[in-house]
C-alpha cells in the first residue's frame, strides 16, 4: 500500500481538509486560522483551498464562537472549532460543559451535536502557567463529551476523521510538542474508531498505560529496558472517553504489573480513573505489584526550563516508576 511520511500537524490538517472535501456541512472556525495558519501552523493551505466561507476566522470571542459552533451543530452543520491553546477552553467552559455536552440527553435525544473542538495541549514550551496545561480529565468527567488525545500522525489523522463524522461533541486534544514529529500514513483513506486503545509495543513483564506525548517517552524507556531483558508493553489509550477498559484489563492480566503515565497533574488526574478500572476488574487478582502512577507535580507549569522539567514527567520518572515494580 502506498504511504508517505508526514508530520502530526499535517496529519491533522489533512484529516480536516479531506473531510471538508467530502462533506459540505463540515466547516472550520477559530482565531487566526487563515493566512496565519493557526498558532502552530496546522491549517496551512486551508483558507486558500476552502475560502473564508468555510475557514471562518473569528474575533477573540471564545464564548461566542464555541456557542455558535454548538448552535450550528444542532441545526445541521458539522463544525470543527480550533482553540489556539486548550487552556483557553476555560474562557468558554459554559458553552462546552453546560450547552454542547448537555443538549443531546437533556432534550430527550432529539438533538445531535456533531462538533469537534480541537485544541493544542501540554507543556514543555516555556509558555508558563496559562499556556501549558493538560486538562483532559476535566472533559472526561462530563458525560456527553468524547475526549481524544492522539500520539502519532497516523492516529491523529484517523481519529480526527472519525471525530468529525461522530454525531457528538468531541474534544480533540493535540499535543503541541508532537506537531513537528513525523510518522507514516497510508495514501488511501482510513478511519480509526473512537474508543479503541492501541498496543504500541507488546510486552510481557509490565504494562505502561498512557496517552498523548508520554506515549513516545514510554516507548523510548521500554526500548532501553529491553536491552536489559525487560519486556514492557506500552498501551496507548488514544481515546479517554469512551475508554477502552477491555484493553486495559487484558494488558494488565497478561503482564500483572501496571504503570500509568500522563503529562497532566498526577493528583486528580485521569490516571486515577485508569487505576480504578484495573482495581475494579478481574485484573486486580492478577496484580503482582502496586499500581504506579506518573504525572506532573501538583503545581502550575512554571516558565523556567529547570522548573518546568522538574514539574513535568519525563523519561527518567517513567523509568523510575517501572523499575520500582519490575
Amino acid at each position: 500500500m502506498p504511504e508517505r511520511e508526514i508530520t502530526y500537524a499535517n496529519a491533522v490538517r489533512d484529516a480536516m481538509s479531506e473531510e471538508m472535501r467530502r462533506d459540505p456541512d463540515v466547516y472550520f472556525m477559530g482565531e487566526d486560522i487563515g493566512v496565519y495558519r493557526g498558532a502552530f501552523g496546522v491549517s496551512a493551505g486551508m483558507i486558500e483551498e476552502f475560502g473564508p466561507g468555510r475557514v471562518i476566522e473569528t474575533p477573540i470571542s471564545e464564548t461566542a464562537f464555541m456557542g455558535a459552533a454548538a448552535g450550528s451543530a444542532v441545526t445541521g452543520m458539522r463544525p470543527i472549532v480550533e482553540l489556539m491553546f486548550s487552556d483557553f477552553m476555560a474562557v468558554c467552559y459554559d458553552q462546552i460543559i453546560n450547552q454542547a455536552a448537555k443538549m443531546r440527553y437533556m432534550f430527550g435525544g432529539i438533538a445531535r451535536v456533531p462538533m469537534v473542538i480541537r485544541a493544542a495541549a501540554g507543556g514543555g514550551t516555556g509558555a508558563a502557567a496559562q499556556h501549558s496545561q493538560s486538562l483532559e480529565q476535566m472533559y472526561c468527567h462530563v458525560p456527553g463529551l468524547k475526549v481524544v488525545v492522539p500520539s502519532t500522525p497516523y492516529d491523529a489523522k484517523g481519529l480526527l476523521k472519525s471525530a468529525i463524522r461522530d454525531d457528538n461533541c468531541v474534544v480533540f486534544l493535540e499535543q503541541k510538542l508532537l506537531y513537528g514529529t513525523k510518522g507514516v500514513v497510508p495514501d488511501e483513506e482510513y478511519l480509526i474508531p473512537l474508543g479503541l486503545a492501541d498496543v504500541k509495543r507488546e510486552g510481557a513483564d509490565l504494562s505502561v498505560i498512557t496517552y498523548g506525548r508520554t506515549v513516545q517517552m514510554s516507548l523510548a524507556v521500554a526500548d532501553r529496558l529491553a536491552e536489559e531483558g525487560h519486556s514492557i508493553e506500552v498501551l496507548d489509550l488514544r481515546t479517554l472517553s469512551p475508554l477502552d477498559c477491555g484493553a486495559i484489563v487484558n494488558s494488565v492480566k497478561k503482564t500483572k504489573k501496571a504503570v500509568i503515565v500522563h503529562e497532566a497533574v498526577k493528583f486528580g488526574g485521569f490516571g486515577g480513573e485508569i487505576a480504578a478500572v484495573i482495581a475494579d476488574s478481574e485484573a486486580f487478582y492478577s496484580l503482582a505489584a502496586p499500581i504506579k502512577r506518573v504525572g506532573a507535580l501538583y503545581c502550575p507549569i512554571p516558565c523556567s526550563p529547570i522548573l518546568e522539567k522538574t514539574v513535568l514527567p519525563g523519561e527518567s520518572r517513567i523509568e523510575e516508576a517501572i523499575r520500582e515494580i519490575l
Binding site: 482565531e31 477573540i60 516558565c303 523556567s304 522548573l307
Partner: protein
C-alpha cells in the same frame, strides 16, 4: 493603513517646561525599546525559553499611560506588557532576569515574559488570557472603594482584539454600574494577532463602546508620548472624580505578534510607514524642533538607556536559576 489619530487629549504647553518629566518620558520609551531589542538578542542566543510578545512601535502607550499613574495606582497589563511594567516602575534587572527564568526575576522565574508582576508597585500582572485582566481590574478598584483609599485608581490595558471578549464587556458594565475607579486603556494597534480590526468588528470606532455603558471616552495618538501622557492624566482625573472611563490609544506594532510571526497578513510598506512614525523618532524630533533638547542631550539619554539595559542583561545572565527542589514552593499561601 488608515491612521485614526484624532488626538483629543493634549498635554498642554505647561508640561513642556518640565524638562525632567520630558527626559523621563524619552528615557522611558528608549528603555522599553532597548529592553525588547535585548530580549530578541538573548532569544537568538538561546538564553530565553518560551515565547515573548514584543511591543516595538507601541512604547508610547505603555510608558505615557503609566507615567500618568501614581505609584499607588494598580495596573494590569497584557501579554504585550513590557513597556507598561517599565513605566510603572518595575525593576528592570528583575524583569530581565524573569525573561531568562531566573530565581531573582520578579516572579522568581515562574512567570516569564507573559506574566511580569510587581505588587509593591501596583503591577498586578501581565496576563496570558486575552481580556481576563479587565474583571480583575474591577476587583482592585473595589478594594480602593471599599477601603476608601484616596487618590488611587485601577488601570487595565487591553487590545483591540481583547475588546471583543465577553469578560471585557462585563467588566466595563460592572465598573460603570457601580462607579468603580477603573481606567480601561484600550491599545488599538489595529490587529489582534493576524486579525485586522476591520475584520473583527463592524464598528471600528472603539470609543463608542464607552457610551454603551454610560462611560466617558478619551482618545489619543498612541505614537505621541506627550499626547498619551496628557490624555491619560486627564482620564485619570476623570476616574477619580466621576468613575470609570475608556481611553483608546491608537498605535501600531511594528514587531511581529510573537516569535513565530511571518507577517503574512500585512504588507512591508504598511510596517515601514509605521516604523518611520515610531514614537522615539517622533518624540526626539519634536524635542529638537521645539529646541527643548539638543541632539547631544538626546544622545546622552539614549546612551544612559542603553547602559540600563546592558546592566540588566549582565545582571540577568549572572543571576542564579531556580532550584529544582523548590519547584513546588508557593503553590499555596
Amino acid at each position: 493603513m488608515e491612521r485614526a489619530v484624532n488626538s483629543r487629549g493634549c498635554a498642554g504647553e505647561s508640561i513642556l517646561k518640565d524638562k525632567a518629566l520630558l527626559r523621563k518620558m524619552l528615557e522611558g520609551i528608549m528603555i522599553a525599546r532597548k529592553f525588547e531589542e535585548k530580549v530578541v538578542e538573548l532569544f537568538s542566543k538561546g538564553f530565553i525559553h518560551g515565547t515573548t510578545h514584543l511591543g516595538i512601535g507601541e512604547e508610547a502607550t505603555g510608558i505615557g499611560t503609566t507615567m500618568a499613574l501614581s505609584r499607588g495606582d494598580y495596573m494590569l497589563c497584557t501579554h504585550r506588557g513590557h513597556a507598561p511594567a517599565i513605566g510603572k516602575g518595575c525593576d528592570i534587572n528583575g524583569m530581565m532576569a524573569e525573561m531568562l527564568g531566573r530565581e531573582s526575576g520578579v516572579c522568581r522565574g515562574r512567570g516569564g515574559s507573559m506574566h511580569i508582576a510587581d505588587f509593591s508597585r501596583g503591577i498586578l500582572g501581565a496576563n496570558g488570557i486575552v481580556g481576563a485582566n479587565a474583571p480583575l481590574a474591577c476587583g482592585a478598584a473595589m478594594t480602593i472603594s471599599l477601603k476608601g483609599i484616596p487618590d488611587r485608581i485601577s488601570a487595565v490595558f487591553f487590545g483591540d482584539g481583547a475588546s471583543n471578549q465577553g469578560a471585557v464587556h462585563e467588566a466595563m458594565n460592572f465598573a460603570a454600574s457601580r462607579g468603580l475607579p477603573v481606567m480601561f486603556c484600550l491599545v488599538n494597534n489595529a490587529y489582534g494577532m493576524s486579525t485586522s480590526i476591520k475584520k473583527a468588528v463592524k464598528e471600528t470606532d472603539l470609543t463608542k463602546r464607552a457610551a454603551a455603558y454610560g462611560m466617558k471616552s478619551f482618545e489619543c495618538d498612541g505614537n505621541d508620548v506627550l499626547a498619551v501622557y496628557g490624555t491619560a492624566r486627564e482620564a485619570r482625573r476623570h476616574v477619580l472624580e466621576n468613575g470609570p472611563c475608556l481611553l483608546v490609544e491608537h498605535t501600531y506594532r511594528t514587531s511581529g505578534h510573537s516569535k513565530s510571526d511571518g507577517n503574512l497578513y500585512r504588507t512591508k510598506e504598511e510596517i515601514a510607514g509605521w516604523e518611520a512614525a515610531n514614537p522615539i523618532a517622533r518624540f526626539s524630533s519634536f524635542l529638537l524642533e521645539r529646541r527643548l533638547f539638543t541632539r547631544d542631550e538626546i544622545d546622552a539619554i539614549d546612551r544612559s538607556a542603553a547602559a540600563v539595559i546592558e546592566a540588566a542583561a549582565e545582571y540577568a545572565l549572572a543571576a542564579p536559576c531556580p532550584r529544582a527542589e523548590e519547584a513546588m514552593d508557593g503553590v499555596f499561601a
